[in-house]
């Protein structure tokens, strides 16, 4: 590994840590804008019959009457030392709550990613082999269709069709294999659309490149051309896209888990949002940011190793001369 690469890696690592810490502060500030918290709320409900003095006393005991910066500091220093605090809503350690639900979300998210990858591969590579007129056009239409269907609608349809009509899975056992599979399909479909779109664009781009024609001029058939020449360069940029969709997987699980009745990070967020359980929200958002940042860090660090063309970020800009013109810059269609 070159020194330039290590330099680059170190720089990216520092950046990643800064982003995670900032994300923590950002969430705190956003969530603290609203005056209110689960404890005060319960107390204020007249049905519970607390007197104003009692309410004040309880709130003070929780440290909720302290100024926001003080609360932020307490919470932030906890976070840095790995202490996520107690959930205001359930009074249990946030780390326990997250540990309880994380496996389920991880299973769902990874299954969703697998579904998305399979689906996008089938669609994108199908566009290269199906007959021009009919099948291709249809396949090419899939990504935009997938992107246009609200993902809760997909979920509702799947549950009704496969859960109730066909009885493939039991709705009240959302963690069973089949239920997880269908949830993963609901989660994966919109994501597959994004990946497939990039993949198709890349395949089109690459097969239109001069080198593809030259390789065919060397006597390569369609299949070999695809397998040997087009597959790798068109799939490599997808790594970046996949890394970016990690966030979507986590965000999408919010809805998918609600629709499928799964208990996971998403439903934890839902419950915490509706009660403004600040410590839990903080932890989940920070966790999401950590995951996102790490995955993207890995993608950024491996990409230069896989793709020989990439120039490392942060290398000084050089003005190209005519000798460079037509040389290979990486200008891939990485649509957001």
């Amino acid at each position: 590994m070159s020194k330039a690469y290590l330099n680059y890696a170190a720089k990216r690592l520092v950046q990643a840590i800064v982003v995670i810490l900032l994300a923590y502060v950002f969430t705190f500030v956003v969530v603290s804008i609203l005056p209110g918290d689960p404890i005060t709320n319960v107390l204020n409900n007249p049905q519970n019959g607390f007197t104003p003095d009692e309410i004040k006393e309880i709130i003070a005991a929780q440290g909720l009457d302290k100024p926001i910066p003080v609360q932020l500091w307490t919470s932030f220093s906890g976070f840095v030392t790995g202490d996520l605090g107690l959930s205001m809503r359930t009074n249990r350690p946030v780390s326990t709550l997250i540990a309880e639900v994380l496996p389920s979300t991880l299973v769902l998210a990874s299954a969703g990613l697998v579904v998305a990858l399979l689906l996008s591969a089938v669609i994108a590579y199908g566009t290269q082999f199906l007959p021009k007129r009919f099948g291709q056009g249809l396949l090419r239409g899939f990504p935009s269709l997938f992107l246009s269907v609200p993902n809760f609608v997909i979920g509702l349809v799947l549950i009704h069709l496969f859960g109730f009509q066909l009885g493939v899975f039991r709705v009240i056992e959302p963690d069973s294999f089949w239920a997880t599979l269908f949830a993963a399909i609901a989660l994966g479909i919109p994501i597959s659309a994004q990946i497939a779109e990039v993949l198709i664009a890349n395949l089109d781009h690459e097969s239109g490149q001069e080198y593809a024609a030259v390789a065919r001029g060397r006597g390569l058939g369609q299949m070999r051309l695809f397998a040997k020449h087009l597959l790798k360069p068109s799939s490599l940029p997808v790594i970046t896209v996949i890394a970016l969709t990690i966030g979507e997987l986590l965000g999408g699980s919010l809805i998918t888990e609600t629709v499928f009745g799964r208990t996971g990070l998403g439903s934890l967020v839902q419950r915490s949002v509706s009660t403004q359980d600040l410590p839990v929200l903080q932890a989940v958002v920070s966790l999401a940011a950590v995951v996102f940042v790490i995955v993207n860090l890995i993608a950024d660090l491996t990409y230069p190793l896989l793709d020989p063309r990439v120039k490392l970020l942060g290398a000084p800009e050089r003005r190209p001369t005519t000798a460079d013109e037509g040389s290979i810059g990486i200008s891939k269609a990485v649509t957001p």
Partner: protein
């Protein structure tokens, strides 16, 4: 005679203009659907004679028919009417989201890309933070912080799109800033601001337009998802996402879900098509 020929001439001109645009039939259909959605939101009363809020309780939960295209809901209201009247808020909120995303994100990207240095570093970290938080989670948190209603959901959706636009704008600006024509304008006496507003902004914005259109479709979905989770306006508002969300409680009467879902899908699909077409023709 002359009149007829004049009008047919203009007709021919119109057609030739259309063919000059080379509008594929799918795109034309998409424009038609979007136009219909806009018409629904501007003048809903032209498209239906029913009342969106007051129904006939005795006629609740009727299936689709000639009288009620999309059937009726649990309070005996015509669902088609509710969809039509819900368009304005669905479309307007998506628009708010896009405007927030484009203006805030665009400005951040423009300044970061153009000035570079610490301005860039500062904005880049902010954008990184926004990017690192899953978009939908961010929208949920923001809407929690500012309160649950459709406008706030739109604002939250916009905020969650800021990073995207900032990033695209920044990279476009950097690309444009290094373009030869920018240096050329500099040599011809252009000041920094002149170059920023007259050269960099218009050029960098070109790729932002199709993205904004795409984001419009996406915002409809995100806002619908927020409404679905109950973070939007309450009934009797009839935002599309809300309608689907209410409909899911009455799954015995599936049109309550499928009709608004269909309208949402058709609109978003059309918007996506248009964006794709814009990208291609650019």
């Amino acid at each position: 005679m002359t009149l007829a020929s004049a009008s047919s001439a203009s007709h021919v001109a119109a057609i030739s203009r259309l063919t000059a645009l080379r509008l594929p039939p799918i795109v034309a259909l998409s424009f038609a659907i979007v136009a219909l959605a806009i018409a629904w939101s501007l003048a809903p009363s032209l498209f239906t004679s029913y009342d969106p809020v007051n129904g006939v309780p005795a006629q609740k939960l009727l299936g689709p028919s000639a009288a009620h295209w999309f059937g009726t809901d649990h309070l005996g209201r015509d669902l088609y009417t509710r969809v039509v009247y819900g368009t304005a808020s669905s479309v307007a909120s998506a628009l708010i989201a896009v405007v927030i995303g484009v203006v805030a994100g665009g400005l951040i990207g423009l300044l970061a890309g153009f000035f570079g240095g610490w301005v860039d570093t500062l904005f880049a970290r902010l954008v990184d933070v926004l990017l690192a938080i899953p978009k939908f989670l961010l929208a949920v948190i923001v809407v929690t912080a500012i309160g649950f209603d459709t406008t706030n959901a739109a604002i939250a959706t916009g905020v969650s799109a800021v990073a995207l636009f900032a990033r695209v704008m920044r990279s476009e600006v950097i690309k444009t800033r290094q373009a030869t024509f920018v240096e050329s304008s500099f040599l011809l006496g252009g000041s920094r601001w002149h170059i920023l507003w007259r050269h960099v902004l218009p050029n960098a914005s070109r790729s932002v337009l199709p993205l904004a259109v795409l984001q419009f479709g996406d915002s409809i979905l995100v806002i619908a998802s927020l409404a679905f989770l109950g973070y939007g306006d309450p009934p009797p508002a009839s935002d599309w996402g809300l309608l689907i969300s209410i409909g899911k409680d009455y799954l015995k009467w599936p049109w309550l879900v499928y009709a608004p879902a269909f309208v949402t899908i058709a609109t978003v699909l059309s918007v996506n098509r248009i964006s794709r077409w814009l990208r291609k023709t650019d």
